[in-house]
């Protein structure tokens, strides 16, 4: 296993080699040529996360979430020592942002247990508490995740873009829509780990890793046209977003397969999983297939048949965006 300095060096080289993929945690992959390299995605599952079958509770068990996170990170990095593995994921002395998603309200938001588990491992890996920022659009979304606002610099900071504000200068990529980015992303975080929650989406089809970035702009509604395509891909291709959002630890512990992005408990189910990876396109492709499988199980039409397939995933993989891969042949899926 390479040390962190080597790791970061190769990670940077990797970013140049294959565009947006930062390749954190994928040191070995960097030895391959970009054309033949596969994007690694880990799906870690614990069927008993919400209690034994027949006695399901709405909140996952804390200890099991930490174990599941460790298992996912171990599978991804090849390092069975969680703290050591994290040292290879996060750069030293930098500010790490954890972008949660609380838009769906209390019933379907990133779980606080997952956020706390990641914060614990980050600190054990040497990240100072004040160098961790848990954030989303606003206080309401953060509280929906079960988190409490805190701006105390000696502790893990938890606040929204309603506190930091947005940049005055709008930016864009491709589409005519210009967006104002959150100052938490542009000025405070050196690296962001996306912590989306898996959901069906009324317009985009699926919301997960890339769609989570709608929460970093002031007026995401302006990117909703045409099933959020190319809005999602364009937003993720904006240099600041592309370069800083380096890793996804996707919360698929509970999900809605219809009626999203809001909470529709009649369509709630418990995949009891985490989906992690650096390639957000590959992560989203994997998440999409998970939603489709559940829809098929419950007799719902495919998203294609429902006229809202997540077309933005293919757009994100195209030659203009090069944000990652959506070809299953080029995704190294590891299920643990």
């Amino acid at each position: 296993m390479k040390n962190r300095r080597d790791f970061l060096k190769t990670a940077a080289a990797g970013a140049v080699l294959i565009g947006s993929q930062s390749n954190l945690g994928l040191a070995e992959m960097l030895d391959n040529h970009a054309e033949t390299a596969k994007s690694k995605v880990v799906v870690a599952k614990d069927p008993a996360l919400h209690g034994p079958a027949g006695s399901t509770t709405s909140q996952p068990e804390e200890k099991r979430v930490l174990d599941l996170l460790d298992r996912a990170i171990a599978a991804y990095t090849g390092n069975n020592h969680p703290v050591e593995a994290w040292k290879h994921i996060v750069p030293s002395g930098k500010v790490i942002g954890l972008k949660v998603n609380g838009l769906g309200g209390k019933g379907i938001s990133t779980h606080a247990t997952l956020v706390l588990a990641i914060c614990e491992r980050l600190q054990q890996a040497g990240v100072k508490p004040g160098n961790i920022i848990v954030w989303d659009r606003n206080a309401r979304d953060i509280e929906a995740c079960g988190l409490t606002i805190s701006t105390d610099p000696s502790r893990v900071r938890v606040f929204g873009s309603d506190v930091s504000g947005y940049e005055d200068e709008p930016v864009s990529f491709g589409s005519a829509v210009k967006v104002k980015l959150s100052k938490i992303l542009t000025r405070q975080c050196d690296m962001v780990i996306g912590l989306p929650i898996l959901k069906d989406h009324e317009m985009a089809g699926v919301t997960f890793s890339m769609k989570n970035m709608y929460g970093v702009v002031e007026r995401p509604n302006e990117l909703h046209a045409n099933g959020c395509n190319p809005g999602v891909a364009d937003l993720n291709r904006i240099p600041t977003v592309r370069e800083k959002v380096r890793f996804t630890i996707g919360d698929a512990m509970s999900s809605v397969c219809q009626g999203g992005p809001g909470f529709h408990p009649e369509h709630l189910w418990y995949p009891n999983s985490l989906i992690i990876g650096e390639d957000r396109v590959a992560v989203d492709h994997t998440a999409w297939k998970m939603i489709e499988a559940r829809r098929a199980e419950t007799g719902l039409p495919t998203l294609e048949a429902a006229n809202r397939p997540p077309r933005y995933i293919a757009t994100a993989a195209d030659a203009d965006h090069m944000l990652g891969v959506n070809d299953p042949q080029r995704i190294h899926l590891i299920e643990v």
Partner: protein, 168 residues
């Protein structure tokens, strides 16, 4: 009393009556605006735990992001929302969508129909699931969602729904 003074008083009286009539027409005859959200303990066991937030159609994305488009295309005018808690344990949220007309409310209700939906006698039409109730009454579409499914959830939600329906 001089005739001119009498005439002046008469004119003043006519003017005052006119103003009063305009005022009554403009305000008194209009149905008073009612807050449809039951206050705490109006419905047994239910506490209203947040202020009511109101979103105009153009701002609805701030509340429900991508969900907003289906309501906008169905003619939503405003959306009001508030949190509730039952017996200090079960948390729920109530959304009241004021549509442009009853057809808009009917359209949204129909999109929520599934084979698991149970029809209920509430407002003009309503359906219930284990953790939620949706009903319409005139231009109003009401959605009540609980965050937990317990044996008492359906009955508690139904009681709150009746409390809301009575105020619409």
């Amino acid at each position: 009393m001089p005739y001119r003074l009498m005439n002046c008083r008469k004119s003043l009286l006519v003017a005052l009556v006119g103003i009063a009539m305009v005022f009554v027409t403009a305000t008194g005859c209009r149905k008073a605006k009612v807050d449809p959200f039951p206050s705490s303990d109006t419905v047994s066991g239910w506490q209203k735990t947040s202020d009511t937030r109101v979103f105009a159609a153009r701002d609805l994305w701030q509340y429900i992001d991508g969900d907003s488009e289906q309501y906008i295309s169905a003619g939503v005018v405003t959306t009001s929302t508030s949190d509730y808690k039952f017996q200090n344990q079960l948390e729920a949220v109530v959304d009241i969508y004021t549509m442009g007309d009853a057809a808009g409310a009917t359209r949204i209700l129909s999109t929520n129909q599934t084979s698991e939906a149970k029809s209920i006698q509430l407002g003009d039409a309503g359906i219930q699931f284990a953790q939620s109730i949706i009903f319409r009454k005139g231009p109003y579409l009401v959605r009540i969602v609980a965050y937990e499914s317990t044996p008492s959830t359906p009955q508690a939600l139904l009681a709150l729904a009746h409390g809301l329906e009575a105020k619409l």
